[in-house]
C-alpha cells in the first residue's frame, strides 16, 4: 500500500451519529408533512 492510496480508517461514532440524524430528519419531515 502506497502513501497515496486510502488506508483503512476506523469507523467513528460521529459518522453513525450524522447518518442516523439524517434519517431522523427525513422521518421528522415526513411527520410534519403528514400533520399539515
Amino acid at each position: 500500500m502506497t502513501e497515496n492510496s486510502p488506508q483503512k480508517q476506523p469507523w467513528l461514532k460521529l459518522y453513525t451519529l450524522v447518518l442516523v440524524a439524517n434519517v431522523i430528519y427525513i422521518i421528522l419531515f415526513y411527520i410534519i408533512m403528514q400533520s399539515f
Binding site: 502506497t2 502513501e3 497515496n4 492510496s5 486510502p6 488506508q7 480508517q9 469507523w11 467513528l12 460521529l14 459518522y15 451519529l17 450524522v18 447518518l19 440524524a21 439524517n22 430528519y25 427525513i26 419531515f29 415526513y30 410534519i32 408533512m33 400533520s35 399539515f36
Partner: protein, 563 residues
Amino acid sequence: MQTLDWIVLIGTLVTIVSYGTWKTRGSKNVQDYVRGGNESKWWTIGLSVMATQASAITFLSTPGQAFHDGMGFVQFYFGLPIAMVIICMVFIPLYHRLKVYTAYEFLENRFDLKTRSLTAILFLIQRGLSAGITIYAPAIILSAVLGWNLSYLNIIIGILVIIYTVSGGTKAVSITQKQQMAVIFIGMFIAFFLIISYLPPDITFTKALDIAGASGKMDVLNFEFNLDNRYTVWTGVIGGTFLALSYFGTDQSQVQRYLSGKSMKEMQMGLIFNGLLKVPMQFFILLVGVMVFVFYQFNASPINFNPASDDVILNSSYANEYNTLQEEQKRIFEEKQLVIQNFSENPNKEVSKAIQLANEADKNNRDKAKLLIQKAAEEQNRIVETNDKDYVFIHFILNNLPRGLIGLLLAVILCAAMSSTASELNALASTTALDLYKRNSREVQNEMHYVKATKWFTLGWGILAIIIACVAYLADNLIQLVNIIGSIFYGNVLGIFLLAFFFKFIKGNAVFIAALITQAIVILGWWKDWMPYLWLNLFGCILVILTAILIQVSITYNETTKR
C-alpha cells in the same frame, strides 16, 4: 433605509472587516497564510465550511423558493451528510497524511505534475467566474430594490473582501466567517419571530403551518421516481451525495477550509458538524419563506415582486392587460381572506380545498403576469427577470421590518456574499500561487516571497471578480452560464479524484489523456445539447473513469506484448 439602518449596516460590516484584518495581520510563512497556521478548531471549520457554501443568494432566493414552491428544496441536501462521511474517511486522511496545501497537490503525488496543473486550471476557470457572480447576484437584487448604483455596490463588496483576505489569508477568512455566521443566524431568527408576530392574533404558529399545509407548501418530501423532478428524496440522496462529494472534496474553496484544522480529528469533526447542521439550517431558511407566504395570505402583495417589472410593463402596450390582472389579484386576495377566516374558525377538508383552489388561482394569475412582463420586455428590447423568487424576501424585509432591523438583515445578505467571496478569492490565490506559480518556477524562493505572491494573486483575483461582477449585466442569464461551466468541469475533476483514490492501477498518462478527451466530449455534449446540463456532472465523472481504465488497460497490454 433610515439613519439607524445605515448605522447598523455599516457598523456591522466595518467591525467585521476591521477586526478580521487587525487580528490576523502579519503572516510569516505559507503555512500560516494558506493553511491558517493549522490552528482551527472543529467549530471554526464547521462554520467556515457552512459560510462558504451559503452565499447571499441562499438567503435571498431560498425563502422565495419556499414562498412559491414550498419546502421541497430541502431534499436537495439529503446527500450532504453521506458525502461528509465519505470525505472524512477517504479524502481527509490522505490530504492530511501528505500535508498538502491544495487538493490538486495530492494529484501530483498520486499521478504527475501535468494532471495537477490541468485540474488546477479547470478549478481556476470555473471558480474565477463564479467569484464574480457571487458578488453580482446579490448586488443586482439590492440595487434593483434599493436604487443603489450596481457598479458601486459591486466595487464596495469586492473591496471589503479584498482588504481582509489579502491581509490575513485563510486565518482572516475563518475568523470573519465566524462573525458573519453569527450575524446571519441572529438576523434570520429575529426575522422569523417577527414574521410570526405580524400574523393576526388568532393565528398561532400551528395554525400558520395548517394554512401553509393547505396551500401545499408543507410537502417536504417527494418519493416519486421522476427524473424530470429536480427535488425528490432520491435525487437528493443520490445526486446530492455526488454533488456534495465533488464540491466539498475537490473544490479548493472548501478543501482549504478544513485543511486549516489543528488535527485530522478537528477536520473530520468540522465536516460532521456541517453534515449535522446543514439540513436543519436549510429547513429553517425555507420555513422563513413559508411564513412569509402565510404573512401574505393576510397582507396584500404585488403581483410580481421584482420592482423592475413594473417599470417595464407600465411603459408598454400591455399596461391595460396588466392592470386587469392586478384587479383580479385583489379579488383573489379578498376571496382568500374569507376562506382563511373560515379555515381558522373551522378547519376541515372542504375549506382546506378552498384555500388550495384560491392559491392556485393566485399562482395562475401571477404566471399570466410573468408572461405579460416577458412580452413587454421583448417589445422594448429589455431584459427583465420575470421569476421573482429572489425578490420576495427582500420585499418583505424592506416593507415590514422595523428601523434598525432592515439594516441588520441587509448586513446578513452582505455578510453571506462576503464570506463566500472571501473563500473563493483565498482558494483561487492559493491554487495560482502554489499549484501553478511555485510549482513551475525554476528558482526556489523563501517563504515570504510566496506569501507575498499569494497576496498579490488574491488582489488580482479580487479585481477580476469585481470586473466580472460589473460587466455581468451584459450577459443574458450569466448565473446560468456559470452553473453550466461548473457542470462542464466538475464531473471531470471529481472523476480524476475518484480514479486517484480507488483505482490504484491507473497511472498519470492514462488519467491525463482521459481527462482531456472527457473535457472535449463533455463540451461537445453541452454544445449539441445531448442532455440537461446538470447531468453533465455525472456524465463527465463516469466518462473520465471509463476512458482512463480503457487507456490504462491498452497501455499495460502494449507494454506486456513488447516485452
